[in-house]
Subunit: 314 residues, 2 copies
């Protein structure tokens, strides 16, 4: 960086990772240069859980589901004998920690089926405005990563269009993506249930059905990118093996690309996990990133700050 240029990534420590990102953006935006990519093709896709915000001790959406299930349990006596509801109602922490992303998604579909889209987003917003993280005792939306907020802004300032492509529920993310990341609803891609537009009691209504439409993880990510975005990304941010497919998708295109893989190796400020973690497992991804020279971010070494500055204790 030249001395009089403003640092748009102040929470990233100087080093190889920060340099790789700035070099990439400079190259693809340099008109007439050999790596120039026109603005319409500057697609950046980011995973959400563990990439843009915290995913420990388990997915935020699972906290949401737990609270929701507890508040609706009276109306659903069958949940007492059915997993994963049983584990939730009995507060069985060992069982809870092993619930897969897919089981969560399916459970959420069931818990929130029957409502409209606007109603669901309102319920999620109310929850997000009140629920607190057990370790940090703060709102979940404050536990988004400051360096990633800066990166999103930096990419946008350079003509990129930024999308979330997440295994999490599409409407849950839409409840906070605009306010929290500046990423509008239509730029959110995620797991989804089926919507049905039908006449109910004389009124036309859109309803969220308890039926999975798309599980947007692993190979589902490039598939959803094709459907929703229609273009291959050239910048991909992720943190787990579930993001590998969209990184491979970027890497096999004909354009320059940068894959940035966040490694959670900071038990002091956040969490340290990779190959053994049921949530946010990162094993194959680390190997492939090393083999192919993709950019691996060490939370411990590359980030000066972890959480957004509003929550500036860490």
């Amino acid at each position: 960086m030249s001395g009089n240029e403003k640092d748009l990534l102040p929470s990233w420590n100087e080093g190889q990772v920060k340099r790789a990102m700035i070099d990439f953006v400079s190259r693809v935006t340099k008109k007439g240069g050999p790596y120039f990519v026109p603005a319409e093709d500057r697609i950046a896709t980011f995973d959400n859980d563990g990439t843009l915000w915290i995913e420990k001790p388990f997915y935020v959406q699972l906290f949401f589901a737990i609270d929701r299930i507890r508040s609706l349990a009276q109306q659903h006596p069958e949940w007492r004998e059915k997993q994963p509801y049983k584990a939730i109602l009995e507060n069985d922490k060992a069982a809870l920690a092993n619930i897969s992303k897919k089981e969560i998604a399916e459970m959420l579909l069931e818990v929130h089926a029957g409502s409209g889209q606007e109603e669901f987003i309102r319920i999620a917003r109310e929850w997000l405005a009140n629920a607190r993280h057990p370790r940090f005792n703060t709102l979940f939306t404050e536990l988004v990563y400051q360096p990633m907020l800066e990166l999103i802004d930096y990419l946008r300032a350079n003509g990129f269009k930024v999308f979330i492509v997440s295994g999490g529920g599409i409407d849950f993310i839409r409840a906070f993506s605009e306010e929290t990341y500046g990423i509008p609803c239509e730029n959110v891609v995620g797991s989804s249930l089926e919507y049905e537009y039908a006449k109910i009691d004389g009124d036309w209504r859109l309803t969220r059905l308890a039926k999975l439409n798309k599980y947007d993880d692993a190979e589902g990510k490039p598939e959803s990118i094709a459907l929703h975005i229609g273009r291959r990304p050239i910048f991909v941010g992720g943190n787990s093996d579930g993001d590998l497919a969209m990184m491979r998708y970027a890497a096999t295109g004909k354009k320059p690309f940068l894959n940035v893989l966040l490694h959670h190796d900071d038990a002091h400020r956040e969490w340290s996990y990779d190959v053994e973690s049921p949530v946010g497992k990162l094993s194959e991804g680390l190997d492939e990133a090393e083999e192919r020279g993709w950019t691996v971010v060490s939370m411990k070494n590359d980030w000066d700050k972890v959480f957004q500055l509003k929550f500036n204790k860490i």
Copy 2:
């Protein structure tokens, strides 16, 4: 309109329709006014076939399929006995005119299955650069409606985000939407097949499968809007009964809305059709528009020009 304001809709004749559109846009953009809608909620959705470009004598995508089927017929002897392929290869015009939008979509899926997204878009672009409309003897992309191009620009100038929501194939529309309408790939919603990301002969590849993912017409339109956009539109443009569901969806929201229904009543400059037309049927829509006071555009009376100015004979 005040005397010193520039007319951004010069191809629309003065009258009730033009006034309704300008009044609506003025109201929803007036900060502090009772009808103000914040920019993030200013979602406009337009049907494509018959709303933004010509759909007669049949859907443009059917011309594309016909040429494609003829060029691939040697490799598919089974098509000689299978409808609608048979009608196409035998040039059976009566049968062709009655092929439904859904049959076309399914046939297109089959014809184009196996290719990647980028490859398919490239094939569609090559076709669009050469194929000509039988009546007007010009490129199909020149047969887009000038008043609609102005309307899209006018909405965008007023902070609207403009989307296509079409029964046509999503990737076919993406082949020309950006260049023709200034509507980028990610703002195109349409019928889709399933995409599969899988390892083929050692390489990870995205493939378009011959399997319908979503038929995006009628009730499918609000369902796809929920999935892709995540917000209810406040401005809807359409021309057939297939657009009625998304108009109802806009009309039952809590925000101000404007539904604009184009009536093809201009046999001289374009075509005249409504209740009896198999393609672009408009019957229930006319009744409901009248009953609810939605805006009906008469092509004959409300449009000073029909096609885009490049093709300025009409």
